[in-house]
């Protein structure tokens, strides 16, 4: 197995991280499905359930399962922290060099796990599931998701067909260093390119939701757009933020010059009766804003360099002897 900077004395080969939130009906079935998929692989594995502050009996069910199966670890969060923090809690606790994440609602099929592992063995750092026959409502889920995936691919330049699928396999070194926060789980492929991750996609099956309700709504679109913008900037900024800010500043300078040109042309040609104060004001505003943008760029630069992007910590590399 092509481990990168392998850590020798891990007691398990595979950690499966499952954030659950109010999934009392699903957890037992999910647990047995995972067992029947993973046990034949003859790997040492652990299953980490992260109970994200469920208000139903999810935690009690998990406790029961825990009694019957030593492979299980249950982490209960104090309150509903959200999917990304819950996943990070699981990643932080995982001990294996390879981690798999999946949804707790039985929509992912654990039988796909060997496919993901095979890809990891080929040397990829991140393997994303791609739900080929997605069993969700067309209007409220599939179409928005398709648009979002297009958009994410276009903006970030990371062409993944299904960012929303939770079934993913990671090399632990990479995902632990990424330090996900807020709603970043949607952008794991994009963010992982920061670390130079090699990404693969694998078609996985998808089942309709059997129990409970979907915890997503359509209202997140605006949030996703701004998050995407932030990710784009982070990927671009990882080198030199000032480049981007000075480009923006240059654009505004160009606009100011263009305005000077237009106004002086109109003023001199006199074919349109024009005042003087307002064009002058416009140009001054533009110039001021251009300078301001450049100054912001300097601040961004100092934040990026001083705040410790710690790039060297996240770069993945291969070492062979």
């Amino acid at each position: 197995m092509g481990n990168i900077g392998s850590s020798g004395d891990n007691q398990v080969d595979l950690s499966i991280v499952i954030p659950v939130y109010n999934e009392e009906e699903s957890v037992c079935a999910l647990h047995s499905a995972i067992l029947s998929a993973v046990v034949p692989l003859s790997l040492r594995f652990e299953i980490i359930f992260v109970d994200d502050g469920s208000s139903d009996s999810t935690y009690d069910r998990l406790k029961q399962i825990k009694h019957s199966d030593p492979h299980i670890k249950v982490i209960r969060l104090r309150r509903n922290a959200g999917q990304t923090p819950a996943m990070r809690a699981g990643f932080d606790a995982a001990r294996a060099p390879i981690i798999i994440s999946m949804d707790g609602d039985l929509q992912n099929d654990p039988r796909d796990i060997p496919k993901l592992l095979a890809k990891i063995d080929e040397g990829y750092d991140l393997v994303c599931g791609w739900r080929v026959n997605r069993q969700d409502k067309l209007i409220s889920r599939k179409i928005p998701s398709r648009i979002a995936n297009r958009l994410i691919a276009q903006v970030t330049g990371v062409y993944i067909r299904d960012n929303g699928c939770s079934l993913k396999a990671y090399r632990a070194e990479m995902i632990k260093q990424l330090k996900l926060y807020s709603d970043m789980h949607r952008f794991i492929p994009a963010v992982s390119t920061l670390a130079g991750a090699r990404i693969a996609e694998v078609a996985v099956s998808h089942h309709a939701r059997q129990f409970g309700k979907s915890k997503y709504g359509i209202s997140r679109t605006i949030k996703v757009i701004f998050d995407l913008m932030a990710i784009k900037m982070l990927i671009g900024f990882s080198s030199r933020p000032i480049v981007y800010f000075s480009l923006a500043s240059l654009l505004v300078w160009a606009l100011a010059l263009l305005n000077i040109g237009i106004f002086s042309y109109e003023y001199l040609s006199k074919d349109v009766q024009s005042g003087f104060m307002i064009p002058a004001g416009v140009v001054l505003v533009l110039i001021g804003s251009a300078c301001f943008t450049l100054l912001l760029g300097l601040i961004a630069e100092s934040v990026a360099s001083m705040g410790g992007f710690k790039q060297r910590d996240i770069l993945l590399y291969r070492w062979e002897e």
Binding site: G53, L62, I72, K73, V74, I75, R76, L77, R78, R79, N80, A81, G82, T84, P85, R88, A89, A93, K179, L180, Y181, S182, D183, I222, K223, I225, F226, D227, M229, A230, M233, L234, F237, P241, A248, V252, F263, E266, V272, Q273, S274, G275, I278, P279, G281, V282, V285, L286, G288, S289, F292, T293, L296, I299, A300, V303, A304, G307, G308, F309
Partner: protein
């Protein structure tokens, strides 16, 4: 005054004190931060220790003095000679109440901690009620004075402040200004205080998923002074609330806030410019004498700047992602 405050000593400055604090446990730590006004501390101390002794004799009083109470320090030191359950923390310079509390939280040896304001707010006998509530499993117990006995201006201020605070934090407390609070040792370790955030401790705690209970208590009969502050104080409170609102909602994702505000302004500017462009290019009307043009350009540039600020915010959160703690573990079963 300044020279005095520089000379004020710090008790227990050595780093191993924290470890030592954990070794010598008592049941209860009472923390009295003295940052602004204070009443007769000795009286407060006697009244409350009497009330506490009905429950336990294993307690300590920590008086935490901000860096300007030289004389008070001497008085307390004399008091300490009588009773070694008193500990004194005194800052070299003025750092404010939140700093006092967070240092005192670290130094406290009690399994349960109580904060008492340095002035009379709550009848000492009400301690039992609060202590029971805390032992009943709450992570944080806050006292709410009811019915209020102080003059009308105080009550009006308090009511307005509580409502505004509830609006900003999304959590309704009836007396958020009351400094009498009880917390478990674990809560004290988890909570992160700075600036003037100690005031909003209950709201912060709720947001962190802690179990917070509000207990209605009788107001101390001597808490009757009419308090009207300078305008600066009110402005500061408002700023605190604004900060808190932002921190609670958008710390992790500043661009969601700045991006939304910025692009709304940007859109307004673009609409104006578009309108002017249309009437200039299609209808041939002159626009260089229209102040609206200036407004349009101004809105566009301001909107852009706000978005840029949001991007810088994102950069800052991202660079600190590894120090952030987004989740709090309640229990692990292995």
């Amino acid at each position: 005054m300044l020279a005095e405050s520089i000379a004020a000593p710090v008790i227990e400055a050595e780093p191993c004190a924290d470890w030592a604090a954990r070794m010598r446990r008592v049941e209860l730590s009472i923390i009295v931060p003295v940052a602004e006004r204070h009443d007769d501390l000795e009286g407060i101390y006697r009244d409350f220790s009497q009330a506490i002794e009905e429950h336990t004799r294993s307690f300590e009083f920590i008086f935490a003095l901000d860096g300007k109470f030289r004389r008070l320090y001497g008085d307390l030191k004399r008091l300490k000679e009588e009773d070694d359950r008193i500990r004194i923390l005194s800052f070299n310079s003025i750092f404010g109440e939140s700093a006092l509390l967070s240092v005192a939280f670290r130094k406290a040896r009690g399994s349960y901690l109580f904060t008492l304001p340095a002035y009379r707010q709550v009848e000492p006998y009400e301690f039992s009620q609060l202590y029971e509530a805390l032992k009943g499993g709450a992570d944080l117990v806050v006292a709410a004075r009811h019915p209020r006995r102080d003059p009308l201006p105080n009550r009006i201020q308090a009511a307005v402040f509580n409502r505004v605070a509830a609006g900003a934090t999304g959590v309704r407390f009836h007396d958020i200004a009351c400094g009498v609070r009880g917390l478990s040792h674990r809560t004290a370790e988890e909570i992160n205080l700075y600036g003037d955030m100690h005031r909003f401790l209950p709201a912060l705690a709720v947001r962190q998923g802690l179990r917070v209970r509000e207990v209605t208590v009788n107001q101390d009969g001597r808490d009757t002074g009419c308090r009207v502050y300078g305008i600066g104080i009110y402005v500061r409170r408002l700023l605190d609330l604004l900060t808190l609102f932002f921190l609670l909602k958008f710390t992790r994702k500043p661009l969601r806030f700045f991006g939304f505000a910025g692009s709304a302004i940007l859109a307004a500017g673009a609409a104006i410019s578009l309108y002017l462009g249309v009437i200039r290019l299609i209808f041939g009307e002159p626009i260089s004498n229209r102040p609206l043009l200036l407004l349009g350009v101004l809105l566009i540039t301001i909107g852009l700047q706000i978005v840029f600020l949001g991007l810088i915010g994102e950069l800052i959160t991202f660079t600190h992602a590894r120090d952030m703690n987004d989740y709090h573990i309640d229990e692990i079963l292995e």
